[in-house]
Structures are given as C-alpha cells and as structure tokens.
C-alpha cells in the first residue's frame, strides 16, 4: 500500500468543480503514476482540459483533494502555487506561445525568468529541446511564422527545456495532419522512456493507444473508466463502446440521416 502511494505523482480525489452555473466535474478521481503516461480520453466538453487546469492550480476545486507529489494543493494561495507549477510544464492546445518573443525565447522562457542556471546552459538547453522536436532552425523565428504543427512542437520543446519532471498535454494532436500527429505521438512516447510523468488529454483514440500506459475516460464530468488500454477495448460499458465505435450511435438514430433528403428540403 505504501509503495503504491509513493508512486503516485498526481492524484485527484473526489473533485467537484462548478464554473458559473455549470457543474463541470462531479466526484472525479484520477491518478497518474510517476514515470507513466496517463491519457485522459473523452468527447469535447466532457471536462478533460478542466482536469489539467485543476492540476496546475489554474482553477480551484469546489471540493475534493488534488495531490501533487503527495501534497494537497487545493488550499494553496496563488503565491504558494508558483513553486508547485514549476514542478510541471503544460503544452497548451493552441501552444500558447508568447507572440512578442522568438521561438528560442519562448522555449527558454522559464529558465530566463528563474535564472537558476547560467546563460550558456539556458542556450544549450533551448537548442537541445528544439533539436529534439526537429525545429532547431526556427530558434530566431517569431511564433506567427510557424505552422500549427510546428507551434505545438515548440510548445513541447518549451516543456522539455523547463526541466519539469511532469508534462501535461492538452489535445497535443488536435487539428494536426497525420504526419504531424504521428510525429507528436512519437515525441510523447520518446519522453516516456526518459522517465517523465505525462498526462495527455485527447479525444484521438489512435494517439491514446500509441502513448498510454493508463487510460481514464471522462464523460459529462464523470470518470467512467480507468485502466489499461487493453481493459478499455474489453470494457462492456455502453458509453465506452460508443466512444470507441461511434457508428453504434447511428443505429440509435443520433446521427443526421442524409438519406432523408437534401439539407433544407422537407422530406
């Protein structure tokens, strides 16, 4: 029992969150083990990204506990959260690169701000991180000059350069072409072998199966599955089955029925 607790890097315990009048998460419990890649799967609007934001302390839970390295962060002030955030890095859905900084400055942002290592070391880390994601020649470019896929890879390089041992990914392959999707999945998989703890939020099943050690499925603010990728495929839950094979919804008449006529015509 003690050994299991020691391996837990991030844990949400019965977390509930309401934004405005909308109950986004209900009694959500998720665990990410140290050195593993945990994938949070779910449809759009199911509350996946909210879980990442709670882990980073960007949202505050109404109830429940959020443990980072065994420490509950739910009661921490913004100032107390700063060092906790520095233990992690996040790759945002739109990359969230700072427009006014070059790619190199974006990648080394945390290091330049914290000043815990020498300038030479910062430059070296920035180059290494950009080389890892295959974008070493973009170091002097501005984010606006990059494609969507390149921006996401720069986002990964920024997370890598920070030296954080936990990386959170928000839809890292959303909107990417198959080549960039495959490349991003390979990057995430490669980082797992370096012992990083990773949480990947996605609705892309192929990416999930390619990188996951554990999968958590969220549906309308509740966790409906937590287990291995193999267990997910074998799950008999109807909600999981329809998520894995959306064509099952067609049989229930949920999808539009084009055979009824042209759009706008009364059948």
């Amino acid at each position: 029992m003690t050994a299991t607790v020691a391996e837990e890097q991030i844990a949400l315990r019965r977390v509930t969150l309401t934004l405005g009048t909308h109950r986004v998460l209900r009694d959500v419990s998720v665990t990410a083990m140290r050195g593993e890649t945990t994938v949070i799967l779910g449809a759009s609007g199911s509350g996946k990204t909210t879980i990442l934001r709670l882990i980073l302390g960007l949202y505050r839970a109404d109830s429940g506990a959020i443990l980072i390295g065994g420490r509950d962060i739910t009661g921490l002030t913004e100032r107390e959260l700063m060092p906790v955030r520095l233990e992690m890095a996040m790759v945002f859905q739109g990359a969230a690169l700072f427009d006014s900084l070059t790619v190199g400055e974006n990648v080394g942002y945390r290091l330049w701000e914290q000043r815990t290592v020498s300038d030479h070391e910062i430059e070296s880390r920035v180059r290494r991180s950009l080389t890892y994601v295959g974008l070493e020649d973009t170091i002097g470019k501005m984010p606006a000059e990059l494609s969507g896929g390149m921006r996401k890879r720069v986002g990964i390089a920024r997370a890598l350069a920070s030296g954080a041992q936990t990386i959170l990914y928000d839809e890292p392959t959303a909107g990417l072409d198959p080549i960039n999707t495959c490349m991003t999945a390979r990057l995430i998989k490669g980082l797992k072998s370096q012992g990083l703890t990773q949480i990947v939020v996605t609705h892309d099943l192929d990416t999930a199966h390619a990188v996951a050690d554990r999968i958590v499925v969220v549906d309308r603010g509740r966790v409906i599955f937590e287990g291995s990728p193999e267990d997910l495929k074998a799950s008999p839950l109807p909600a999981i089955q329809t998520f894995l094979d959306p064509s099952l919804l067609a049989a229930k008449g949920v999808f539009p029925r084009p055979e009824l006529g042209e759009w706008g015509e009364t059948p």
Binding site: L58, M90, F92, A96
Partner: protein, 259 residues
C-alpha cells in the same frame, strides 16, 4: 415587478463586483511594483512604447490645441484691446487643464486600447494561463510594468504637449496676430505659478494610472474569443475617457482647495 427587481439587483451586484475586481487588480499591480526589477526588460519596452510611441500624437495634439487657443483667445480679447495677453490665456489653460486632459485622452486612445487588446488577445489564446503555468505572476509582468510605464511617461508627455501647445500659440501669435515674441513668452511664463506646474504634473500621473489600470482590467476580464477582444478594447477607451474627465474635475476641486 419581481423580475424587474431581480434585473436591477443583478445589475447592481454586477457593478459592485466590477469595482471590487478593479480595486483588487489595482492593489495587486501596485504591490507588484516592488520587485519590478525582475521584469526590467518588459518595463523598458513599455516605457519606450508609451513614451516614444506616443510622442508624435501628443506633438500634433499640442500644436493644434495651442494654435486654436491663440485664434479663439484673440477673438475674445480683441474687444478689450488685450490681444497681447493671449499667451497668458494659452499657457494657463494648457498647463492647468487642456494639456493634461487632451494628452491623456489621446494616449488613452493609443496606449490604453493597445494594453487592453494585447492582454485580451493573450487571454483568449491562453497566453495568460501559460504565464501562470510557467510560474510567472501575470499581473506583475503585464499590469505592474504597464502601470509603471504610464505613470512615469504620461507626465513627461504632458510636459511636451504643454510646451508644444504654447509654441503652437506663438506661431499663430506671430503670423496672424503680429504679437511680439518677447511679450508673448514673457506673459506666457509670468502667468504660471508653481502650483500650476506641480498640479499639472500630478494630474497626468493620475491619468496614467487610470489609462494603465483600465486597459489592464479590460484585458484581463475578457471573455469569449475575438469578439471579446473587440469589446474589451472599446470598453477600455470609453471607461478611461470618462474616468479621466471625472478625475480631472475632482482633482481640480481638490487642488483649488489647496491653492
């Protein structure tokens, strides 16, 4: 009837919440001025943007304000044979009121809306969240730096506006009113008292505070995509203009009590 009461109550609660959030942001930004050295580069960039970037518009504002005042002032003073004193009218009205207010309104249009739209864009593209995720206090990095830049630079820009306005008045006085330069400049400076200059510098510092904080508040409170960015930018311009004019009235009353 009950529905109307609910709407009124919600509106009032909304305004109270806005004032509370604005006050908290101001307090946080002021507190962030301590230790601003870690954002020295950002502060210098903002000083350059506010100061050098606004120089051209305040020069134009000052020039035309002084020229118009000279023309209008001469019309009013002519029946009394006092056209020669037009520079008194220009220097006092510009240094006490028109210089600070017009410069502030122009800078609110250029700098305040820039601050609002930049922060709003950062908000909707998750860059503010990214700053927090990187362990940076976004209010210190974005609001305190802009606050320092505006409070430092807007008084200097106002001095430029005042100087240029009096100069613009001199051009008109020489070309159209045939007033001797010696008399123009002598009366222009003699009309001013130390209080006018001191109060004329305190006002723009207060206006700088308003411009920076209203712009930052509009940016940070942005909701909903690019439409939200547009709304925040407009809101910043309208709110800061009204607050500048209102603050000018109350500051003038206050200064009159001290003078």
């Amino acid at each position: 009837m009950e529905a109307t009461a609910d709407i009124v109550r919600d509106r009032v609660a909304g305004y109270v919440l806005t004032v509370q959030e604005f006050a908290l942001l101001c307090a946080h930004a002021i507190a962030g001025l301590r230790g601003l050295g870690r954002h020295a580069r950002e502060t210098l960039i903002q000083i350059e943007r506010v100061g050098v970037g606004s120089l051209f518009i305040v020069i134009l504002t000052g020039t035309f304000t002084g020229m118009v005042l000279a023309l209008q002032g001469a019309v009013q003073l002519e029946p009394y044979g006092a056209t020669i004193y037009v520079s008194r009218l220009i220097s006092t009205s510009v240094v006490r009121e028109l210089g600070p207010v017009l410069a502030a309104l122009m800078i609110a249009g250029r700098v305040g809306t820039g601050i609002a739209s930049e922060i709003a864009s950062m908000k909707v593209t998750e860059q503010i969240d990214a700053l927090r995720a990187e362990g940076t206090d976004p209010i210190q990095k974005l609001a305190s730096t802009r606050l320092a830049a505006c409070v430092l630079m807007i008084p200097l820009l106002t001095v430029v506006t005042n100087g240029i306005a009096v100069f613009g008045g001199w051009v008109v006085a020489r070309l159209y009113l045939s007033i001797d330069s010696y008399f123009y400049w002598t009366w222009a400076f003699e009309a001013l008292r130390l209080n006018d200059i001191v109060f004329g510098l305190i006002k723009p510092a207060v206006f700088g505070f308003i411009i920076a904080m209203v712009g930052c508040y509009a940016g940070f409170s942005t909701r909903g995509g690019t439409v939200g960015v547009g709304i925040s930018t407009t809101q910043s311009m309208v709110s800061s203009s009204i607050l500048i004019l209102a603050a000018d009235f109350f500051l003038t009353k206050l200064f009159m009590a001290f003078a």
